[in-house]
């Protein structure tokens, strides 16, 4: 591990009893959902992580439980270092506290996670879908979301598919 990151990791470990993993010099701290706001505040205020450069999620269904990892990637521009925080959450509608009051940029990123993975953020000021239409069902980036959406229209199934296209005959 990068020597500069050691005090940071140690501090977070002591305070939140977090485990950590290292992969190719990247440090991942594993936290519980209820600790995330405190941990982000600590890292922002005491270790100069002024930028939440990515907030995303991974779905490990069906290999792992808990199936989702919410990943916060923090960057310190002042000190040129970065750290990842992973929050494993489970279930079909997992909940996690919002980080919008720590990092403003979390607002749209959390909406994207709500849209794509169905991860709800408690206390989010504007919990709507951001990319898909409002009336869409399901969350497309989940592994159990069906891959193909629609059969293409060919000669052999022309009539069958044509029934689903009311506007084509105007």
């Amino acid at each position: 591990m990068d020597k500069k990151l050691e005090p940071i990791v140690k501090s977070v470990q002591d305070k939140f009893s977090a485990t950590f993993e290292e992969f190719r010099d990247e440090v991942h701290l594993f936290l519980k959902p209820e600790q995330i706001v405190d941990a982000l505040t600590l890292l922002r205020d005491e270790f100069n992580f002024e930028l939440l450069s990515a907030l995303t999620a991974v779905d490990y269904y069906p290999q792992e439980t808990p199936r989702f990892h919410v990943v916060y990637q923090l960057t310190s521009i002042a000190k040129n270092r970065s750290v990842q925080i992973r929050v494993p959450v489970n279930g079909s509608s997992p909940k996690i506290p919002t980080a919008t009051h720590v990092y403003d940029v979390a607002n749209w990123r959390e909406r994207e996670l709500l849209d794509m993975f169905g991860i709800e953020f408690d206390g989010h000021p504007d919990p709507r879908r951001i990319l898909s239409p409002e009336d869409m069902e399901g969350h497309p980036l989940r592994k159990d979301f069906p891959l193909g959406y629609e059969e293409p229209q060919f000669t052999f199934n022309f009539d069958e598919i044509d029934l689903r296209k009311p506007y084509a005959k105007e």
């Binding site: 898909s132 193909g148 506007y167």
Partner: protein, 167 residues
């Protein structure tokens, strides 16, 4: 060549009103300035001097749907873009025609997924599908020529029936 030959020295041409109207429609068919993806680049190229769509009276790409006759759907239409496309189509005055340009607009192309319409004919009625990914300007011009052939064959009776259906 031209109207002088038909006129001879009489100064009179006999024809039907339908064919004059359709001739007028085909030779001043203004497309809507509306590109959605890489096909729009080919559409712009078709307008350029090398391919020159203004030969067919189509040099005016109208930025407003209310002034255009032809909608060229150039690119993939996402689920969120669908209502916008439909609204633009509804704002165009009759008579109006639609070209689905490229594979994405015709059948979804490579994007068979949750976000893209599998053919723009789910949203608007399409007259001509132009294949290609993206189609070359020649292909688009061929599509336009095909629409022109279609328009030349249309009659007032068809328009009247269509209008009756929509009201």
């Amino acid at each position: 060549m031209g109207v002088e030959q038909k006129l001879g020295n009489m100064g009179v041409v006999t024809t039907t009103l339908e064919s004059v109207v359709n001739w007028g429609r085909t030779n001043a068919m203004w497309p809507m300035l509306f590109g959605l993806a890489c096909c729009a680049i080919e559409m712009m190229s078709a307008q350029s001097s090398a391919y020159d769509m203004s030969r067919f009276g189509m040099e005016l790409m109208r930025a407003s749907p209310r002034q255009s006759d032809l909608m060229i759907v150039a690119g993939r239409v996402s689920k969120k873009m669908g209502p916008v496309l439909r609204r633009l189509y509804d704002q165009m005055p009759e008579p109006k025609w639609v070209i689905a340009m490229g594979d994405c607009a015709s059948c979804g192309g490579v994007f068979n997924n949750y976000a893209i319409f599998q053919g723009v004919d789910e949203v608007v009625p399409v007259d001509v599908f132009v294949a290609g990914c993206p189609p070359r300007p020649e292909a688009l011009i061929h599509g336009v020529m095909t629409i022109h052939e279609k328009v030349k064959g249309e009659s007032f009776k068809q328009y009247a029936e269509k209008y009756k259906q929509t009201t």
